[in-house]
Symmetry: C2
Subunit: 230 residues, 2 copies
DNA sequence: ACCTGAACACCGTTCAAGT
DNA sequence: ACCTGAACACCGTTCAAGT
């Protein structure tokens, strides 16, 4: 009743509470989770996602993170909220990948777009479960619980628009409608990604090289067109 | 003990058993499910899919079909098998839609392809949950339990190839690689479908008209190319 | 042959309680 | 403030049993 752990109640200070808890955890069995549990949960969730696919259990995530199965509810409203927060991280990486490709080809707008396409497909193929989580209808994009999801997914689209604008500035496109150009590129690249990650192209997209080849191929086809010139 | 229902055991004939069961069902409460339960389960499953989305419960499907929660196991190995059989129906409709569009434009290969694209996107947008089931990673395409799935999904791709061949016969494409042309078209159309059905384009794809407009737009962009001609 | 009902291990979520 | 443990209603699947 009068041991170290009870002191913090009377002191009523978060910092001191944490300090004592940290100290005592070195002696006793670590029962409380210290530090950023929210983040630990997301890390655990991604590990589970990669291993078991899109249908992961919140209880298992908690177990992997080393807390009780009710602890996640301190940081996320429900299971969907955790998955949305995880998807938000996926969109963040997507935006980063696209911007990195753009910066590498600042003077060659077409190569910048093809590079962005390569980054998009590569990320999707290397993280198929994450891709399915983001775009597979596991979570309703209509009902956004974690605001991060809306922000990050919007920013990813923004990154794509920046690559389009690069081309418009250099006057390389026939059309001057940035939305249309963006949507055509996005659809093409997204479609290829989804077809590969859901296993429809299992025959022709097995190695990294073949995936890159396919990406370049469909990307150039969109740029030059399929129809014969008259 | 000695009423009508027990006769069939001694007779040991399926037909007679079924006949007696049918007769008795008119008098008593219908406890057994007569006729094609397999089909009834698929109908119930699609109803549930449309209502509750991709995460449906096998028990609920059984309840909707009017049988006990273990009855489905007489017709499907497990829940995944039922979902795969349902997805197979989706691929079947896709193949039909594409072929119908092709037959409508037998002399205009480009219009045939654009029509097929329209059919594909339309079907996806009108059945978003089915689309997510087919392509969203809910079921592993790697592990096919219901053989129908493999057959029907292969046939849907076959239908697309037929539309490509129409164009090759009329010599309208720059490339002569049917696989490449097919993949470019498929990626484009599939990407647009998935972006709409997962809610990413909620702003610009609300009405049937706007969806058709977007489909035609990206389709024509692929045909003519984005880049300025030099 | 076809279906039922009890049983098991799991799940998401809530809530009173503990430190 | 942060986490736990019991409890509840649900789920997929198995199996002995019924007609």
């Amino acid at each position: 009743m009068c041991d170290v752990d009870t002191v913090y109640i009377k002191v009523d200070s978060v910092n001191i509470f944490l300090y004592i808890a940290t100290m005592s955890s070195k002696k006793k069995k670590k029962t409380y989770h210290h530090g950023d549990l929210r983040n630990s949960l997301l890390v655990a969730a991604e590990k589970e996602l990669r291993q078991k696919g899109t249908d992961i259990s919140l209880r298992e995530v908690a177990k992997v993170a080393g807390v009780s199965h009710t602890a996640p509810y301190r940081h996320f409203k429900d299971k969907t909220a955790l998955l949305q927060a995880l998807a938000a991280i996926g969109y963040q990486r997507l935006a980063e990948g696209v911007r990195a490709a753009k910066d590498q080809h600042a003077d060659e707008p077409i190569e910048a777009m093809l590079g962005a396409a390569r980054a998009y497909v590569e990320l999707a193929v290397n993280n198929p479960e994450m891709t399915q989580l983001m775009f597979g209808g596991v979570l309703d994009q209509e009902v956004i619980i974690e605001e991060d999801l809306g922000v990050c997914s919007g920013d990813a689209f923004q990154a794509l628009l920046e690559v389009v604008d690069l081309g418009l500035e250099h006057d390389v496109y026939q059309s001057d409608n940035r939305m249309e150009i963006a949507l055509a590129n996005w659809s093409m690249v997204h479609g290829l990604s989804m077809l590969i990650t859901c296993g429809q192209l299992s025959g022709e997209a097995e190695t990294d090289e073949s995936v890159q080849g396919l990406t370049r191929m469909v990307g150039e086809m969109l740029m030059t067109g399929l129809k014969k010139k008259t």
